[in-house]
């Protein structure tokens, strides 16, 4: 296991960003102009015309080694605004921004060069109606073609979110797009109501010729609630509820990203005590989430005792969260400007005890699992994604780190005071199920260590500083959620009401890579691959 330690990468951050800007301007002299820092971005590039978009993104992603954040599309009355955030590790976010006239209907697709943009472009096409030229497969993404007819574009301002349900007839001519074309190949449908027991709504078409599955195509967005659309027109506090609750198992992380975006818009300060408590709560959530993921992996391999023990650890952490913060899933804690409540020393000590105990139990469990050969047999070399594919698709979070993608936003782009803590970012290179499990355990240990550091060095002071929400503005906020890097974009108009809210979630980025892990395997391995990926459909669907 390689570990990226907290000593940093030894480069002077400012120099790197300047180098980057210089290199870009050098190469794309006419077409690109540098934009000043703002909206939460450390740097920006303004494109004169769309044709250079592809080569610029390729340059940033491949030649400069940036990580791709997503695509943010905004519809203004007079123009379209598209942002392509890229992260240069250690140097903050850089955005390529593209402005199109309001009657434009096509945008050049960058998926050929930056494959990680595949699903982002499909989502924008489905929701906004903008066609990305050169994308090989648009449509049938969020609004399934079998049920929704074409041309709805719900994210356009002209579409009202309050439309009542209207009757739709399924399209009888629809056929799934099958990739395997052997004679006698067929696609076994799994879902959307499928998992034995309790599971999220997912649909897969497992294409096979009978014995092993050659290819699996996930069809998601059965949990799509159009959070981004219904947030528009809400006040900040109401939208905070949405940001918190579209993916409750990472509720604190997403609400933190939202609050950081709002704080950035109003340049409001957050007290150091609030920052430290935010770190403690983030890591508490991460620890609990990883315990649940470990329990799910053990359950998928039918090792019932270890699954039960991991579930017990998770339940104790849920109870500890409830005692500490008043809610088992840490709802209602973040607010722009800090936290809604404070915690006394005794509560913090109790929390520390609980997390230490959980960490000890998890380590004991890991030690035992390492010697269960029947368990390891089902995880090793199952669902492997190699480092090159992981880089190609820009996988994030523990899944990316199991395939040697060591990007962690707490280290690459620190927020909420993370730069003051000592912690490691565990990394593996095999990329199979066992590697992901090891990464999860190692991150649990690091989270417990962070909680300890946070609790033992809490500064005194207020826990909330009021946020003056008086003017319009827009900003990104980012956080390393338990499943990976999450990016929120909040745009507020002059009345203090949300104009555009975009949540780019780690599950959305990682689901793109699922089909690589789920190729050429036996049917029995499918639930295991799903569990080791540990992704959340609801976080992806929003």
């Amino acid at each position: 296991m390689t570990v990226v330690s907290s000593s940093g990468n030894g480069r002077n951050p400012k120099t790197c960003l300047d180098d980057l800007i210089a290199a870009v301007l050098d190469r794309f002299a006419e077409a690109v102009s540098a934009a000043p820092a703002g909206h939460g971005y450390a740097a920006g590039f303004q494109l004169g015309h769309p044709e250079t978009l592809r080569s610029l993104c390729r340059f940033l992603f491949w030649d400069q080694g940036c990580s791709f954040g997503g695509i943010i599309a905004e519809e203004h009355p007079s123009h379209w605004q598209l942002y392509y955030p890229f992260l240069l590790p250690g140097n903050g976010w850089t955005a390529v921004s593209l402005r199109l006239p309001s009657d434009a209907t096509t945008v050049p697709s960058i998926s050929a060069e930056v494959h990680a943009a595949d699903w982002h472009e499909r989502e924008i096409e489905d929701l906004f109606g903008l066609v990305f030229e050169g994308h090989p497969r648009l449509g049938d993404f969020i609004l399934h073609d079998q049920v929704w007819h074409e041309g709805i574009a719900p994210m356009r301002k002209s579409f009202s979110a309050n439309q009542p349900h209207f009757e739709r007839q399924p399209n009888l001519e629809w056929r799934p797009l099958l990739v395997v074309q052997d004679p006698g190949a067929f696609a076994m449908p799994v879902g959307p109501v499928y998992e034995g027991g309790v599971g999220e709504s997912l649909h897969f078409l497992l294409e096979t010729v009978g014995e092993d599955v050659v290819r699996s195509s996930p069809r998601l967005f059965y949990n799509y609630r159009a959070v981004e659309k219904i947030a528009e027109g809400k006040t900040i506090n109401d939208a905070l509820l949405l940001a918190e609750r579209f993916a409750a198992t990472s509720a604190f992380a997403h609400s933190l990203a939202f609050c950081q975006a709002v704080e950035n818009i109003y340049s409001s300060r957050v007290s150091s005590r609030a920052q430290q408590l935010r770190v403690v709560l983030c890591e508490l959530e991460r620890l609990r989430h990883h315990a649940a993921a470990i329990a799910a992996i053990c359950e998928s391999t039918a090792l019932a005792v270890s699954a039960s023990q991991a579930a017990i650890i998770e339940e104790h952490l849920l109870r500890a969260s409830c005692v500490f913060a008043g809610h088992r899933y840490l709802f209602g804690l973040n607010i722009p400007g800090g936290l809604t409540r404070d915690f006394d020393t005794q509560a913090c000590t109790e929390l520390l005890n609980a997390t230490n105990k959980a960490c000890t139990n998890l380590l004991e469990l890991e030690d035992r699992l390492r010697y269960s050969s029947s368990f390891l047999d089902r995880l090793e070399d199952v669902g492997a994604i190699d480092a090159r594919d992981a880089r190609d698709l820009n996988l994030v979070g523990p899944i990316g780190r199991a395939s040697a993608q060591s990007n962690d936003l707490r280290r690459a782009c620190p927020y909420s005071g993370y730069e003051r803590y000592k912690f490691d970012v565990p990394c593996e290179s095999e990329g199979d199920g066992y590697a992901r499990l090891r990464v999860l355990f190692a991150e649990c240990v690091q989270s417990a260590a962070l909680i300890r550091q946070g609790v033992q060095s809490l500064d005194a002071g207020p826990v909330r500083i009021a946020c003056d929400t008086s003017h319009a503005g827009a900003s990104i906020g980012w956080v390393e959620a338990p499943r990976g890097a999450a990016l929120h974009w909040v745009s507020i108009d002059g009345l203090g009401v949300i104009e555009r809210y975009r949540a780019i979630t780690p599950s959305f980025n990682n689901w793109l890579g699922f089909h690589l892990a789920a190729e050429n395997f036996a049917f029995q391995d499918f639930p295991i691959i799903l569990a080791t990926f540990g992704l959340s459909a609801t976080e992806c669907d929003r």
Binding site: A112, H115, P170, V180, G184, F186, A187, V190, V209, L516
Partner: protein, 716 residues
């Protein structure tokens, strides 16, 4: 006497009908040929059944002498019980096939250009098949055999102007000729020391052959007749020819000409020149391997006709394994066991004729209604063709050896016959029997898989192909298929009547009566039955068997197979009783359900498929998918060559199509056809070195050869 005259008259009438049929087919208009074939074929098959039935019932064989040819000897005919059984089976097949020709032609109004040709050849083939079965001397046998081979080839290719690929027919012809030559040599070896070439004379000479000569006769005869029977080293022509032959010919091809191979083996190696137990072991091993290879390829095949062809190979293997067991038991002196084995083989032969014909006719109808034979493209036919679906199901159940149909009886008898190897002395023979029995059991299991796939993927489920609206809803299955289905049921439910009939043929060959062994009249009086020890019989009667005799109709409805004298162990099987019991249980269940559960209504709801809007055909199992585990487990046999051809638009993860091409050569081709062909080609290319076109060298060849001949003449 009466029987003899009945037989003679019936045979004569059969030939006369064939002759009339030939003339009529040549003269009438094209559209009426099918009717002529149906009428003539039905009539003559009824006469054939009469003739063979008379021989079987009366127990006296029919003999006749025909004319004498210079240098060849006298042509004689002899229809004994063995020939009659084969002739009766051929009659049943011909009856249904002739009517099938008519009914099939009406569903498929293709062009009738070659119809006359077909009709003429059909009747000539029928006549030659009859003559093969009743020939009693070598020349007549061989002439009619050759006639039959050539006619088969002609009938496969009778629409030769329309077809592009005629190579399957040529391969069949080549293999038939090779087999013919081997058979000819075998007969000549036997007949070398015989006064004439008639079968009785050969039988007398056969008992005086030396060991080496016997082995030579056996090998040549076995493999020569094995070509027609479809045994492993020489059956690579069979799947291709069956797939290539037209639907109106294939029932006869599969139901009658296949049996001629068995007839030849039985006649030459069972009757005229019986060998030692070594030859029997060879036959068992070849039979088991044939059965296993056949069913493996049948299970993984998705073309219906080719699958049925491989299944014919499998059944041929089972029959030959039974014949081998018969030879071994007879050579080691266990007459009763040999009789049971031969009965099993003959029963299986009869059963196979019936259900294979049924299945091929069904496949023909399926192809006519939907336009495709590919089981990956079928599905949901039971809704459109319910009658055909029902009879096809009967055929599948019969071939999978499910009671109460006929396959069960013969399969059970074959396996029981192999199990009787316990009475043999030599351990090595017992081991061979055990292994072959295991192979046959595996074959039986795979046969069930194969036909579950065949029925379910074609008739059940959702329609996968695009042949939909044209296929008419045809509720009734045509008569020939119903007829064969009823025969399947009768053969399965009445084995206690069939076995004594088969006994007429078995007894002379095995020197023991199988009726007494398998169907003893134990329901009747005690003391007169000498086969069972009295103590056993007393116990059995104390259990109430006598009352059974009063209640149950028929003679001995239970088939018994018992162990040795010291400890009589009874293995009994009674399809008739089972059928009655099954009917009773179903009736009782229906009674209970209809009387006591009146208030519960049955609600039909939509199929649960995980909540998707519609279950599409792409989402259901295909025939290839169903049989894929077999392909994977037996990969060493199949040895496929898989090349992956992925087409990607942009990069690794934007795949638009994945295609894996899978090339397989069947194992028999790999192991036999290819090496022979390559060897021949090698030899030919060496010899081709002689043909270089230089006139001087050719003259030198002639001179050199002349000198060699002079030298040899001088020396000897």
């Amino acid at each position: 006497m009466i029987a003899a005259s009945v037989t003679a008259t019936a045979l004569l009438l059969a030939f006369v009908t064939c002759a009339c049929g030939i003339v009529a087919c040549a003269l009438v208009s094209r559209t009426k040929v099918a009717g002529v074939v149906a009428a003539g074929g039905t009539l003559s098959s009824i006469f054939l059944m009469l003739a063979s039935g008379a021989v079987l019932v009366s127990g006296r064989s029919f003999e006749a002498s025909l004319w004498v040819l210079e240098g060849w000897g006298r042509f004689t005919l002899r229809m004994d019980a063995l020939s009659s059984i084969f002739l009766f089976a051929a009659g049943v097949v011909y009856l249904s096939s002739s009517i099938f020709v008519k009914t099939f032609s009406t569903t498929r109004p293709g062009n009738r250009e070659a119809a006359r040709r077909f009709g003429v050849m059909y009747f000539v083939l029928m006549a030659s098949v009859v003559l093969i079965l009743i020939a009693s001397d070598v020349p007549l046998f061989l002439i009619t055999w050759e006639c039959m081979s050539i006619l088969c080839f002609l009938l496969i290719n009778y629409k030769h102007r329309e077809r592009a690929d005629r190579s399957a027919g040529y391969l069949m012809l080549a293999m038939s000729e090779a087999g013919f030559i081997m058979v000819l040599i075998a007969f000549l070896i036997v007949g070398k020391s015989a006064p004439s070439l008639s079968f009785p004379a050969l039988a007398a000479a056969g008992s005086t052959l030396s060991h080496g000569a016997l082995w030579a006769v056996f090998t040549l005869g076995f493999l020569g007749f094995g070509v027609k029977a479809g045994l492993v080293p020489v059956n690579f022509w069979l799947p291709r020819s069956y797939t290539a032959s037209p639907s109106i010919f294939i029932p006869v091809f599969a139901g009658v000409t296949l049996n001629l191979g068995f007839y030849g083996i039985l006649r030459l190696n069972g009757d005229l020149a019986p060998g030692s137990y070594g030859t029997g072991l060879f036959a068992i091993i070849v039979g088991s391997v044939t059965a296993l290879v056949g069913i493996l390829y049948a299970t993984t095949e998705s073309d219906m006709k080719t699958m049925l062809a491989f299944s014919s190979i499998e059944n041929a293997g089972v029959i030959v394994a039974g014949i081998g067991a018969f030879l071994v038991f007879r050579a080691t002196g266990h007459a009763v066991a040999s009789a049971i084995a031969l009965t099993a083989a003959l029963y299986h032969m009869v059963n196979h004729s019936v259900y294979k014909t049924l299945l091929f006719q069904g496949a023909g109808y399926v192809e006519a209604e939907t336009g495709t034979r590919d089981m990956d493209r079928l599905g949901g036919l039971s809704r459109i063709l319910p009658g055909l679906s029902a009879v096809f199901l009967v055929g599948c159940l019969a071939i999978s050896a499910v009671p109460p149909f006929n396959g069960f009886v013969s399969e059970w008898l074959t396996l029981q016959a192999l199990l009787r190897s316990a009475i043999l002395g030599s351990a090595s023979i017992r081991i061979v029997f055990a292994l072959c029995g295991a192979a046959l059991a595996l074959t039986a299991a795979l046969a069930v898989t194969c036909f579950v796939k065949a029925y379910a993927m074609s008739f059940l489920g959702i329609r996968r192909g695009t042949w939909g609206p044209q296929a008419q809803r045809n509720a009734h299955a045509p008569f020939p298929l119903w007829f064969l289905a009823v025969v399947c049921l009768l053969l399965g439910v009445l084995p206690t009547y069939i076995i004594p009939i088969l006994n007429r043929a078995v007894e002379p060959m095995a020197q023991a009566s199988v009726t007494a062994a398998l169907v003893p009249p134990f329901f009747t009086a005690t003391a007169t039955n000498q086969q069972l020890p009295p103590a056993f019989l007393q116990d059995f009667h104390n259990l109430g068997a006598q009352s059974g005799g009063a209640v149950l109709p028929g003679r001995g409805l239970v088939v018994l197979l018992r162990g040795g004298e010291q400890n009589p162990v009874v293995f009994a099987m009674s399809p008739s009783y089972s059928l009655i019991a099954l009917a009773l249980m179903l009736f009782l269940a229906w009674l209970v359900i209809s009387r006591w559960t009146r208030e519960r209504a049955v609600v039909r709801r939509e199929l649960w498929a995980g909540g998707i809007p519609r279950l599409l055909a792409e989402m259901t199992y295909t025939a290839t998918g169903f049989s894929n585990p077999v392909r994977v487990v037996f990969q060493a046999v199949f040895r496929p060559n898989i090349t992956e051809d992925t087409r990607q638009t942009v990069a690794v993860h934007f795949r638009t199509a994945i295609r894996r091409r899978r090339e397989e050569t069947p194992i028999v081709d790999r192991l036999f056809l290819r090496p022979i062909r390559d060897a021949m080609a090698g030899v030919a290319s060496i010899l081709a070195g002689m043909h270089h076109g230089r006139l001087n060298m050719y003259i030198a060849y002639v001179v050199g050869f002349f000198l060699i001949i002079l030298f040899l003449y001088r020396v000897t």
